[in-house]
């Protein structure tokens, strides 16, 4: 794997999901590449020899038992967690040390958290405009217009002037998605985006994510929502004890898991 793959290979045509069919394995060139990634929390070896390539336009669902390292994996991709070994590249660029260059790279990676993490002291609109204004230093009128479009797109256009605490969980999470999209990221990371939501709000968030997937956004989604995985994912990755144990298309994975760990895990989440 070379780091300058994006320079030497011709740009692949931009394909939408409908054109390639959702089972297409590699819709585009490699965008996020993890090679031999290792990470410890003290004595705990959370990530063990992780090799993973995510291609442009691909939707990868990460699934696995609690404590298996899914969140940590997600967070290493924008270096909210630093790794101890291996390498991670985004669009050919190696993740640098903390600093200006890392900040620039991070702005290309959207992140959606389980607990939304909207800025509590800013309005919904300000939450969405802050990044483009402060990080990209774009013009205020352009940013505001785009923010309103994004808020409309995720269905919370009428809430623009409210504060996050005045919104339902589902609305907050959709604002969080709009906030990440406002940076026009190359890839979006979702860490259990619906786990903190009441059941009736889960679908409104998944629907927004399905739309994103359909439009060709590259996505890494940690979730136990199998309906979403089946309908939107190109690939399912099953993690256990810090390793990628199994990797397959959603159909194959859910109907025909190969490893005992996966079979065991699936039987647990299916029967309750």
């Amino acid at each position: 794997m070379t780091t300058d793959a994006s320079d030497t290979t011709p740009k692949p045509p931009v394909l939408t999901k409908s054109e390639v069919g959702k089972d297409a394995v590699h819709p585009g060139a490699p965008l996020v590449v993890l090679e031999n990634v290792n990470k410890h929390f003290g004595a705990l070896h959370v990530l063990q020899d992780i090799d993973l390539t995510i291609h442009k336009g691909e939707v990868v669902v990460v699934i696995g038992p609690s404590g298996s390292g899914k969140s940590t994996l997600c967070r290493t991709i924008n270096r909210l967690e630093a790794i101890d070994g291996g390498r991670i590249t985004i669009d050919g660029a190696l993740l640098p040390q903390e600093g200006r260059e890392l900040a620039r790279l991070r702005s290309d990676v959207g992140m959606v958290f389980q607990s939304f993490n909207l800025f509590a002291h800013k309005t919904v609109l300000q939450n969405v405009t802050l990044g483009p204004l402060k990080v990209r230093r774009e013009k205020a009128d352009v940013v505001t217009r785009r923010a309103h479009e994004l808020l409309d797109r995720v269905g919370v256009g009428s809430q623009a002037d409210k504060y996050p605490a005045q919104l339902s969980g589902g609305q907050q999470q959709r604002v969080a998605i709009a906030r990440a999209l406002a940076m026009e990221p190359k890839v979006m990371l979702f860490d259990e985006p619906t786990s903190a939501l009441d059941p009736e709000m889960i679908n409104e968030v998944l629907e927004v994510m399905r739309d994103l997937a359909r439009e060709g956004m590259t996505m890494v989604v940690v979730t136990h929502e199998m309906g979403f995985a089946r309908s939107a994912a190109n690939r399912v990755i099953f993690m256990a004890d810090g390793r990628i144990v199994e990797e397959n298309t959603p159909e194959e994975f859910f109907s025909n898991p190969r490893s005992d760990r996966a079979r065991d895990f699936l039987s647990k989440i299916l029967h309750h």
């Binding site: 790279l105 991070r106 993490n117 969080a176």
Partner: protein
């Protein structure tokens, strides 16, 4: 008791203005310095963190009078020839800043870690996420302890009179020497201090309300 204030109006006024000046200047300097040191203490750069910790430990655990002496005697030796007022500002502000730093840091600790993570994942720098996201939300929790610290600072400013700075407390000696009853003298001086501290408390209470963040 009224003749104390009638006869010594100019003296009291000078003292009051001196204390007020010390309060305003030291308040601003120690808030800025305290914020800066708090930023050091939560910074990702280890040497800055070490500096912050060392600063707080040094200045919090040294008697203020000692700091006054160190500044008033030490600075002229280093050929910094400043006025006594400036010496007083330096001594009082460096001391107060150590406490304010800790108040701000405890305010920062009340802000959920996810706020800073969200800011960082948007590509904000450490300074941006601190100034745009974390500090504005830390403010609310930090304001009440900062209020007490600033009031303590006003009281501590009395030490400055021992270093030739005209301030409220220092005027008492002169009036008592001139034969006024010390009880009445001290009463009026207390009123002067109260005017300053009470209006400061009111301003801070208003600020606290303004910084309220609903979660």
């Amino acid at each position: 008791m009224l003749e104390v204030i009638q006869d010594n109006w100019d003296l009291l006024r000078h003292g009051f203005v001196g204390t007020l000046k010390l309060t305003v200047v030291c308040g601003i300097v120690s808030l800025l310095l305290g914020t800066l040191i708090a930023a050091c203490r939560v910074s990702p750069v280890p040497p800055l963190r070490w500096f912050g910790t060392a600063y707080v430990n040094l200045f919090r655990n040294t008697p203020l009078t000692l700091i006054f002496f160190a500044v008033a005697l030490g600075f002229p030796k280093l050929r910094f020839n400043l006025s006594y007022f400036e010496f007083a500002v330096i001594a009082l502000s460096t001391y107060t800043a150590a406490f304010i730093c800790e108040a701000i840091r405890s305010g920062i600790n009340t802000v959920p870690i996810g706020q800073a993570e969200a800011a960082r994942s948007l590509g904000m720098s450490f300074t941006q996420s601190l100034s745009q996201i974390v500090l504005p939300q830390a403010g609310r929790a930090a304001v009440p302890p900062i209020g007490s610290l600033l009031i303590a600072m006003v009281r501590n400013s009395a030490i400055a009179s021992a270093f030739n700075v005209t301030e409220l407390m220092g005027t008492s000696a002169e009036m008592v020497e001139n034969g006024y009853k010390s009880l009445w003298v001290l009463l009026w001086i207390a009123v002067g201090y109260l005017i300053i501290t009470l209006s400061m408390s009111a301003a801070l209470a208003a600020l606290e309300k303004k910084l309220a963040v609903v979660r």
